[in-house]
């Protein structure tokens, strides 16, 4: 087996001002091109895991290594990682195209190439021609796609998705989920996908990491996980009786 693309070893982290650690001795490895779903109840540290990888939450101890380079202390904007928030966090003062182009602009992509890439990515998410739209005029599903396009545009080495379907209704989610799965597959992305919904995790992920109280308590393929949950808690999360 090739060396892991991303590895976290014995990571401890806590929110500023908090009494206790939100991540405890967490270790996790992901291979290139692998999609890992992170499943856990709320408060288990799923989002904090993504924030540590993105550099938005500093670690107290432990190391984060990406593609063989220790990035533990590298500033967020130099990590080349994509992160998509549950609330999408679209820039309200920019139109759709400018939102998508933002990362390209920060990476000094020339203007001509920038517009080409924006058009390409918007087509990819099915929003061709939406470039000049105001983000406040978009529907929930459209916002979600713009956020995805914005994350994908600079071609990050790794994308982190924090409950990307969390703010959408059931019908929309059922429609978008296969599309997202296909997109990830088509682009060969390495991704970490946080969700509390087992269906989503099972549909998208190559492997699923189950988190509880700041640690990964089990990591396995969906089938293995389903067959042999490591504990009652994991079983409960999977909806087993």
């Amino acid at each position: 087996m090739s060396p892991p693309f991303l590895s976290l070893s014995n990571v401890n982290a806590r929110h500023p001002g908090a009494e206790s650690d939100v991540l405890r001795d967490l270790s996790l490895s992901i291979g290139q091109g692998e999609v890992v779903g992170v499943l856990g109840s709320s408060g288990s540290g799923k989002t904090s895991l993504l924030r540590v990888i993105a550099g938005l939450l500093p670690v107290i101890s432990g190391a984060v290594v990406l593609n063989g380079v220790d990035i533990t202390t590298v500033a967020t904007h130099q990590r080349g990682i994509g992160l998509m928030f549950q609330e999408h966090a679209l820039f309200p003062h920019l139109d759709v195209a400018d939102n998508v182009a933002f990362g390209l602009r920060m990476n000094h992509v020339a203007k001509v190439d920038r517009s080409a890439r924006v058009a390409e990515v918007l087509d990819l998410v099915g929003l061709g021609g939406f470039g000049s739209r105001d983000v406040s005029s978009l529907s929930g599903g459209e916002r979600q796609r713009v956020a995805l396009a914005r994350t994908l545009a600079p071609s990050p080495r790794l994308i982190l998705l924090d409950e990307p379907m969390g703010s959408l209704d059931r019908v929309l989610r059922d429609r978008l989920l296969p599309e997202l799965a296909e997109l990830i597959d088509q682009l060969g992305l390495t991704a970490l996908y946080v969700t509390h919904d087992r269906t989503e995790a099972f549909e998208l992920a190559d492997r699923i990491a189950v988190m509880d109280r700041g640690s990964v308590i089990q990591i396995a393929t969906p089938a293995d996980l389903d067959a042999a949950p490591a504990s009652d808690h994991v079983a409960a999360l999977l909806g087993h009786r």
Partner: protein
């Protein structure tokens, strides 16, 4: 967490829109009539007295004044010192706003309230304190008195809170995930600020700037005391031409100029504010603020606190120290002297009475300002859909700001010539004081209430309407409870403005009803250690009272919608 999602307009039919418009026009009436009677009328009357003496227009005086090199210098200086003060104030206050918006630290709530103290302190008290620091022979050894720097520093001193509290309030509602998204997408800190934060706070910066500009543009006491004799503003010139020389023609020309510039600036600010306004989902501040994480963040907070203690702490400390430093050593001698009746002199102000009068006038002014402010804010906020922005509302907003940019002596002398006959023979009426205070407080009240009204989800109003509620009932049952907290904050702010108001009060006050700032001036107008000490002691009491009032208000402060 309230979102201002525009409502799809198709659902509202034309008749309804028409009715709403009429209703909105009616609520605009009380504040506009009030402004018309107590501001426009006196000002127009005094201007006409100057420009149309004996019924004949004398417009040639415009040419004479405009061609006078001394006046040209005054106009130019006024304009550029106001612009420089505004820019400087915004530059030094933005880091402060950022600190309050993003971080949680010990004493934050107190500091946020205490920031308003300089805003309400009488100019002369602060100026004399400042002379002790940056004046001739001041403790720093740097003599800035008579220079533009002294004026600029004092303007920053008085207006810092306006910028920090206005911008800080908006900043604290910006979802930090926007900035985080930008960082993840490769933006270094400075680009996050330039590309994300700045566009979102820009309209509140414009709102604060317009107030700072007006205050600096009409600066009077600071320019006189700290600016030396070579620096004169239009305000100083208008005062001299009116009160000292009774050259009403020259004064009228200058007042017209002042009005023209003020209106032009207000319209320009208003326009840029609207053009650039971005409606975004607001977060509650408590969700966002966090303790400093890194050494750089701790350093940032410390640097801000050091700056604030230099700018405010030192002058205010000088003042407090002087109030305790009696000829017989440290003690409460000057505070005790406040109760010395000086042989029953009419100029004596028992401190309790001064405090009582201040509180009484402030209460009356608050009631007037809040009632009228609510009407005005409802008109401006559109009374309905969040995004609607009527010309009537825009003009109401601008009109209410104009008094802040108008000379107190113009209004004061105007009062004398228009309110001289029944039924409005108010020239020596006590009511003029709270009325004048209310005029000053109105723009602040309105600017606090408008965002709160706009944040009301229009669907609530529609729901109420469809259930058969009349417009007034909708207003009473939906709007009032929701804006209650903003209302409390506005009331407190009006109260504080009234506590500190001096310019207009000095024209209108009666000796048996002096306010605290008036008592301070009276003590300072006489020689002797005890008179000076009493002025310092009374100023200290005013500071304490202000902090108490503002602390009480801030407890009511609505998360996310408050300005100032």
């Amino acid at each position: 967490m309230v979102s201002s999602v525009p409502l799809s307009r198709a659902r509202r039919n034309d008749a309804q829109r028409h009715r709403r418009f009429r209703w909105r026009s009616i609520t605009a009436l009380p504040p506009l009539v009030f402004l018309g009677v107590f501001f426009v009328w006196p000002v127009v009357a005094i201007l006409l007295r100057g420009l149309r003496p004996n019924g004949i227009w004398n417009l040639a005086v415009f040419g004479e004044v405009l061609a006078d090199p001394t006046m040209q210098r005054v106009m130019w200086f006024t304009l550029w010192e106001a612009v420089a003060s505004t820019v400087l104030c915004v530059l030094v206050a933005l880091p402060g706003a950022a600190m309050f918006a993003r971080f949680r630290f010990k004493g934050k709530g107190f500091l946020w309230s205490a920031l308003l103290v300089p805003f309400v302190l009488p100019t002369v008290v602060v100026a004399v304190s400042m002379l002790g620091i940056i004046g001739d022979g001041g403790v720093t050894g740097v003599n800035l008195s008579g220079t533009v720097w002294a004026i600029l520093i004092a303007h920053v001193f008085f207006n810092y809170a306006v910028v920090v509290r206005t911008v800080g309030a908006t900043w604290s509602t910006i979802d930090p995930r926007l900035e985080e998204s930008a960082r993840v997408l490769g933006a270094p800190s400075w680009r996050v600020f330039v590309d994300i934060t700045w566009p979102l706070i820009r309209s509140s910066v414009a709102a604060a700037s317009s107030i700072v500009f007006l205050f600096s543009f009409t600066s009077f006491g600071i320019v006189l005391i700290l600016g030396g004799i070579r620096h004169r503003t239009l305000e100083v010139e208008i005062y001299d031409q009116t009160a000292k020389f009774l050259h009403l023609d020259i004064a009228a020309v200058l007042a017209v100029l002042q009005l023209v510039i003020v209106v032009a600036i207000l319209v320009w600010f208003g326009r840029s504010q609207r053009r650039r306004a971005v409606i975004f989902e607001q977060r509650s501040a408590s969700e966002i603020e966090h303790p400093p994480e890194t050494r750089a963040q701790r350093g940032f907070i410390i640097a801000n606190l050091v700056f604030m203690s230099l700018l405010f702490g030192v002058p205010l400390l000088v003042l407090v120290v002087r109030s305790f430093s009696t000829p017989d050593g440290w003690g409460f001698g000057f505070y005790r002297a406040l109760t010395d009746t000086r042989g029953g002199s009419t100029s004596f102000v028992p401190p309790i009475d001064a405090i009582g009068n201040s509180l009484l006038f402030a209460t009356m002014a608050t009631v007037i300002a809040v009632v009228l402010g609510l009407c005005a804010a409802w008109t401006i906020a559109g009374g309905g859909a969040a995004s609607s922005d009527s010309p009537l509302g825009r003009w109401t907003d601008t009109a209410l700001m104009i008094p802040l940019g108008t000379s107190a002596v113009t209004v004061g002398f105007g009062f004398l010539i228009v309110f001289d006959e029944p039924p409005l023979n108010l020239r020596s009426s006590l009511w003029l004081i709270p009325i004048a205070h209310a005029i000053v407080a109105l723009p602040f009240v309105v600017r606090l209430l408008v965002p709160a009204l706009r944040s009301i989800d229009p669907r609530l109003r529609e729901a109420a309407s469809t259930l058969g509620a009349s417009p007034s009932r909708v207003w009473w049952t939906v709007d009032v409870p929701i804006v209650g907290r903003a209302l409390a904050a506005a009331a407190g702010f009006a109260f504080a403005v009234s506590l500190g108001e001096f310019g207009a009060t000095a024209f209108l006050v009666r000796p048996d009803r002096p306010t605290m700032p008036i008592a301070i001036y009276r003590a300072l107008g006489r020689p002797g250690e005890y008179n000076f000490g009493q002025a310092m002691a009374m100023s200290t009491l005013l500071m304490v009272l202000t902090v108490i009032v503002i602390l009480a208000i801030d407890r009511f402060r609505p998360a996310g919608v408050s300005e100032f």
